[in-house]
Symmetry: C3
């Protein structure tokens, strides 16, 4: 049988010793746990970014993996820490909504527990580093086969992240930029299928205070270098990009900026 | 039995091939070694930063792990490379003091060897990359079970890092900023217990040329966003922070800046 | 037997979910695969940088390892994806030349296949993320022992990276800066042996529009802090550095800048 896998997603960066301390705690409990970094570059305390990240990463993993997430502006307050099972994926997270964008095709199989059993924690627990003192040791014990039901008590409600929903009609799509990646690609919250009713050469895109007519492509390199392109992202969303360049820089736009697609008049 | 674990802590960053080369060398000697990144973002050649990092990371690991540290401004000179055992932790380090802040509760169990047995090294050894040519292969051999005593000769002295000690009295605490993390939290070298003699609402904090009266909290989110707070860090030290902001930016202060706590007059 | 190892080298950074998605896909196919990050900080779409990185990293690995490389400005176009075996190393790469600087001591043992067998891919395949949809699943299947010959069809030609060759004579060496590392060290494409014909104290180095007489050393710390030094890099190339400083900053020079070494007149 494969050794159990524990992934880590944090906003700790790498220059501070926080991630390393968590790895030590996990291995102190289960030296056979295989630890996998997903990211330590979530922008500090950016729960929305973490939610987008998890939504686009966790579904690709097989079910047995344990995912620890520490993006936790409320650390030390009375916000709960949760054990979550959703579509077979297992997460240990602060109750701040970071996991609520994960797809849940079978709500009846969802299980959410508030972590309460301090016997699985480090002692004493610091007020500012629950990743090290609670989540890492709980992950270590889970990876040893501890039954999740022993970790705490079931809860029926939790913080839901406020997610902007796009407004979609046949000739007008309104949404926003949900994510900007390291290439400067602007990924919106507008599903790619919504484009189908709009004639491809007349799709006018308004981003912030700019209006553009991107070239619609399947992939970046179909257009000349430097060209503003529109496409459907690898996660199925409308995306604005610049081949071999940065759309974020070109358009001066970032996460949260309004995006609207309309149909230009035929002689426009 | 679990596969042996080797951790890496360097100032190499990730864009250069140096870390990858070390991983290749280790796996070439022991393909079953499990390699774990602690950090490759130690600021270049910053031995003090490395020392703080190791002090706050290594103690959480179980003893069997092998820790390789390459922050090595003296590479290629006659500075020694060391095998160190301290409180059961095993490190391979340049002799520049980076490990000397690690707690040592049992000095009689400490073992320090100068690496001299070139049979465990790559050949030839370059003058500028001992991480790849000496430390990585020695770690590989150690992980195969080679007795550490075969690696070199015992030494009784080594470079001690000059660590600033705080001056503590009942009404005045003098120290400095020892670390700034990625949130901009300022972690001092003043132990949290030293605060006990000072009335909580009258603790005046001088950082650089600024004097502030932070709100004293157990954790960041007890105060409103943007508030300057004082607290005891997850490692037990006095820390100055801004809830959901950066104290480093707000106060224009960084590592080494003087910090002084005094008691404000009751009518001050 | 050791679990199979898959390394990842990308230009994805860590803040986006792309690397994590690839890890999930691999583990979904082979939960026992051990995933090792080489770098996710290749500068975006910089195939030359990737080529230098691989040339200086892959040769240190043992042969059984599978290396996945995703620096892929042509994703989604008709550029091929390749399985490559060179000197026993196994790579999965876009056909953009990123692997062609790897040493090949035995061309008869080289095997290059174009990936065509979609049965080993995710379905559907997106137009913009072949790392997740093709390379990661193929790596997973390879790590399970699938015969590489089943993955596609042999090809006899591939994109060769245009690599600048230095011009070397006894009294004049012309080349360029091939790499700048995180210390600001300037690594040229001029082999260190070429220096032998030039008297050490008369080696004049022209970098961009600057002419310097560096101190020639075996390692950085032989010279005083701040001194411009010349040396032979850990990979055997002429390197210009500043002890405890950045030669890139001092000389305002970066990748591609012309470097010329000449012999200064004895009374010069």
């Amino acid at each position: 049988m494969a050794d159990p896998i524990i992934t880590l997603t944090t906003d700790f960066g790498e220059s501070a010793p926080y991630v390393a301390a968590m790895k030590g705690v996990i291995l102190g409990i289960n030296p056979q746990a295989r630890i996998l970094d997903l990211s330590h570059q979530i922008p500090p305390q950016d729960v929305q970014h973490a939610a987008f990240f998890l939504q686009n990463a966790i579904p690709y993993f097989p079910p047995a993996v344990i995912h620890v997430v520490v993006v936790d502006p409320g650390v030390g307050t009375d916000r709960a820490l949760l054990y979550v099972e959703v579509d077979g994926h297992r997460l240990l997270v602060p109750d701040n909504g970071c996991w609520t964008r994960l797809p849940c095709t079978d709500p009846s199989g969802r299980r959410v527990l508030r972590l309460t059993e301090a016997g699985y924690w480090r002692s004493p627990v610091s007020a500012t580093f629950h990743g090290r003192d609670i989540l890492a040791p709980v992950a270590g014990h889970l990876s040893l086969g501890v039954d999740a039901r022993k970790l705490g008590v079931p809860v029926e409600s939790w913080v839901q992240l406020d997610v902007a929903s796009p407004e979609l009609s046949l000739d007008r799509l309104r949404g926003e930029i949900a994510f900007v990646d390291q290439f400067g690609n602007l990924i919106t919250n507008i599903p790619g299928e919504a484009l189908q009713s709009m004639p491809v050469h007349r799709r006018l895109v308004h981003v912030g205070d700019r209006s553009i007519l991107p070239v619609w492509v399947k992939t970046y390199a179909e257009a000349a270098a430097g060209t503003l392109v529109g496409l459907v992202s690898s996660a199925g969303m409308v995306e604005i990009a610049v081949n071999q360049g940065s759309a974020a820089e070109r358009l001066g736009a970032g996460v949260g900026a309004a995006v609207e697609l309309t149909v230009r008049g035929e002689n426009g």
